[in-house]
C-alpha cells in the first residue's frame, strides 16, 4: 500500500482516539484510506501491513519500502507518522485483555503544543519514527537501541533524547560503542545490567559522555578511540571483539 498522511481532519480524529492511554475501541483504521481523513504522501514505496516482533524490524521494513533516498523526506513530514502508527497499530497499539494500550500521545502523533508537557513534540518518542530514524542512521547497530515495537527503551531514551551534547544522538561511533558494550550477539538481546543505573550501565555511560563531550568532538572520534576513553575496568569487563 502507498504511504499516506493524515490531513487536519484525520489528525483531529486520531488525536481524539489517543485521548486516553487505553481504549476499549479498536484503532480507527478507516482513517487510513478515507480521502476525507488522509491523502497520498507522495513518497515512493509500498508498505505491507504486518505484525513485528521488534521495533528494529519495523524500522527496517519502512526504510526498505521507501528506500534510503526518501527517508529524509519522510522524516520531515509530521503528518506521515500518525498514519504509519495507525497503519502498524497491531504492533504499536497492543491489545491485552480486550483493551488496546496506547500510552502517551507522543508515541503515535507529533504534537506541537509546547505548553503541555505530555504533548511536547518529542519526535524521538514516536514509536515508528524513532524506529525509522535509528535504522536510517545506525543500520544494524540500531538493534541495541530498540526493543519491542510498542516500547521506548531506556537506552533509546538515554541516548536519543540528547541529554548529552547535541551531536550525541547522531553519532555513529557512539552507537557502535554502545552496540559493542551492550548487545549480546549470540543471545540477540541487550546484556543484563545495561538498563540499570550501576557500574557499566547506560546511565553511567551517559554521565561519562557528558564529561568527554566537554573536551572532545565525539563524531570526530572513531569507535575505538571513544572506547579507549571510557574508564577501565568498568567498561572493560566485556570482550573487546564482540
Amino acid at each position: 500500500m502507498k504511504i499516506r498522511r493524515l490531513n487536519s481532519s484525520g489528525l483531529v480524529k486520531f488525536a481524539e482516539y489517543l485521548s486516553n492511554k487505553t481504549q476499549e475501541n479498536a484503532p480507527p483504521l478507516t482513517l487510513l484510506n478515507d480521502p476525507a481523513y488522509s491523502e497520498d504522501a507522495q513518497i515512493d514505496g509500498d508498505l505491507e501491513q504486518q505484525f513485528f516482533d521488534s521495533k528494529f524490524d519495523l524500522g527496517i521494513a519502512v526504510c526498505s519500502a521507501v528506500g534510503t533516498k526518501n527517508v529524509p523526506k519522510l522524516l520531515r513530514d509530521d503528518a506521515v507518522w500518525p498514519w504509519l502508527s495507525l497503519f502498524f497499530s497491531e504492533s504499536t497499539m497492543p491489545k491485552k485483555d480486550g483493551v488496546w494500550f496506547l500510552g502517551d500521545k507522543s508515541r503515535h502523533i507529533l504534537g506541537a503544543n509546547k505548553a503541555a508537557w505530555k504533548e511536547y513534540d518529542h519526535h524521538h518518542r514516536h514509536l515508528v519514527r524513532g524506529a525509522v530514524q535509528a535504522v536510517f542512521q545506525f543500520n544494524d547497530r540500531a538493534r541495541v537501541l530498540l526493543g519491542k515495537p510498542d516500547q521506548h527503551t531506556k537506552i533509546e531514551e538515554q541516548l536519543l533524547s540528547r541529554k548529552v551534547g547535541t551531536s550525541f544522538a547522531y553519532s555513529e561511533p557512539l552507537i557502535e560503542v554502545v552496540h559493542r558494550l551492550y548487545w549480546d550477539g549470540p543471545k540477540a538481546r541487550v546484556r543484563k545490567g545495561a538498563k540499570g543505573t550501576g557500574a557499566g550501565s547506560v546511565v553511567r555511560l551517559v554521565g561519562l559522555l557528558r564529561q568527554i563531550d566537554v573536551t572532545y568532538d565525539l563524531p570526530s572520534l572513531s569507535a575505538d578511540q571513544l572506547y579507549q576513553l571510557l574508564p577501565a575496568p568498568e567498561f572493560r569487563s566485556i570482550p573487546e571483539t564482540l
Binding site: K2, D40, Q42, D44, P72, L75, R76, D77, D78, L110, K114, Y120, D121, H122, H123, H124, R129, Q133, L160, R162, T166, S167, A169, Y170, R204, G207, R210, Q211, V214, T215, Y216, D217, L218, P219, S220, L221, Q225
Partner: protein
C-alpha cells in the same frame, strides 16, 4: 561510585567563541529546505593559545540541531587556514534535514586533527540571536485573484509576496507539497524578483533587495553584476546571471525530477 567532574575546569584551553562574532543567516522559502550562509565564523577575531600548526590545521564543523523534531545536520566546513582566508561568505549550504528555519540551534566547533580535541566552540546560536539573522524572504498570502492562480506582488519595506488565490481548494499545499506548482511558481518568482532588482538600483539598495541578491548569489558562481554609474545593469549581463542562479536553484531542488516523480506516481498505482 559516581564521579562528577566540574565542567568549568578547562585543562585543554578550549576557547569559547563569542556568539556575537558569529554572523550567520538562515533563509527559508516555502516548499524547500532552508539555506544557511555563514558570513563569518568569528575565528579571525579571537586570540588562540594553541600552537599555530594545530590551530590552522584544525577542522571547522557546523552543526544544526532542532531538539523537538530530532533533526540534526553536521557539516565539516574546512580547515581554519582555508576558511579564515575566504572572501565573501565563509560557508553556504542547504539544511536538508530540516523542513523550516524554526527553532534551529547551531554549534560551531574547531576540532584538532589530533584525536578530535575541541579547540574552540560556540554553542546554541539560534536564528534570531544577535549573531544570527533570520529572514523570511518570501511571504505567501491568500488573496482573491479571480481566475488567476497566483501573483507576485510587492510590499514596501519587505519586498516580494506571493499571493495565492483563496479560491484554490488546495491553496494550503500550493507551494509546499504540489510539485507542479512549486516547479512552475518558485523559479518564475525568483526570476521576476532578481530581474526587477537588477533593473532598479533603488530597490537593490534596500535591505530586502540586498538580502535577495545575497541569497541568489549562493546558487551562482559569483555575485550579481554591478551597475554603471547610475546603477543600471546591462540587460544581457543581468539575464546571464539570473539564468545562472536559476540553474543552480533548480538543480538544488530538483524541480524537474520532482515533477516527473509526481507524474509517474499515479501510473504505478
Amino acid at each position: 561510585m559516581r564521579i562528577n567532574v566540574k565542567r568549568q575546569f578547562n585543562y585543554t584551553e578550549r576557547i569559547k567563541i563569542p556568539k556575537k562574532l558569529v554572523k550567520l543567516r538562515v533563509w527559508h522559502v516555502d516548499g524547500a529546505p532552508p539555506r544557511i550562509v555563514v558570513d563569518d565564523f568569528g575565528l579571525n577575531q579571537i586570540s588562540v593559545p594553541h600552537e599555530a600548526e594545530e590551530w590552522l590545521g584544525a577542522n571547522v564543523v557546523l552543526e544544526a540541531n532542532r531538539h523537538t523534531t530530532s533533526s540534526f545536520q553536521r557539516v565539516e566546513v574546512g580547515l581554519v587556514s582555508d576558511i579564515a582566508g575566504r572572501s565573501g561568505a565563509q560557508y553556504s549550504g542547504t539544511l536538508e534535514q530540516f523542513d523550516s528555519d524554526e527553532n534551529i540551534a547551531f554549534t560551531i566547533k574547531v576540532v584538532s586533527a589530533r584525536y578530535g580535541r575541541l579547540l574552540a566552540e560556540a554553542k546554541n546560536i539560534r536564528s534570531g540571536d544577535d549573531g544570527a539573522e533570520k529572514h523570511e524572504l518570501l511571504k505567501v498570502q491568500e488573496h482573491d485573484l479571480g481566475q488567476e492562480p497566483w501573483r507576485l506582488t510587492w510590499e514596501d519595506g519587505f519586498g516580494p509576496i506571493i499571493q495565492v488565490n483563496k479560491r484554490l481548494s488546495d491553496r494550503d499545499n500550493f507551494l509546499t507539497r504540489d510539485a507542479f506548482m512549486q516547479g512552475a511558481a518558485l523559479p518564475t518568482a525568483l526570476r521576476m524578483v532578481l530581474l526587477r532588482l537588477l533593473m532598479d538600483p533603488v530597490e537593490r539598495e534596500t535591505s530586502w533587495g540586498s538580502e535577495w541578491l545575497r541569497f541568489a548569489a549562493t546558487f551562482a558562481a559569483g555575485e550579481a553584476p554591478e551597475g554603471d554609474e547610475d546603477g543600471r545593469v546591462d540587460w544581457i549581463d543581468a539575464e546571464r546571471w539570473v539564468n545562472e542562479v536559476l540553474t543552480g536553484f533548480c538543480d538544488r531542488f530538483s524541480y524537474t525530477d520532482r515533477i516527473n516523480d509526481a507524474v509517474a506516481a499515479p501510473l504505478e498505482d
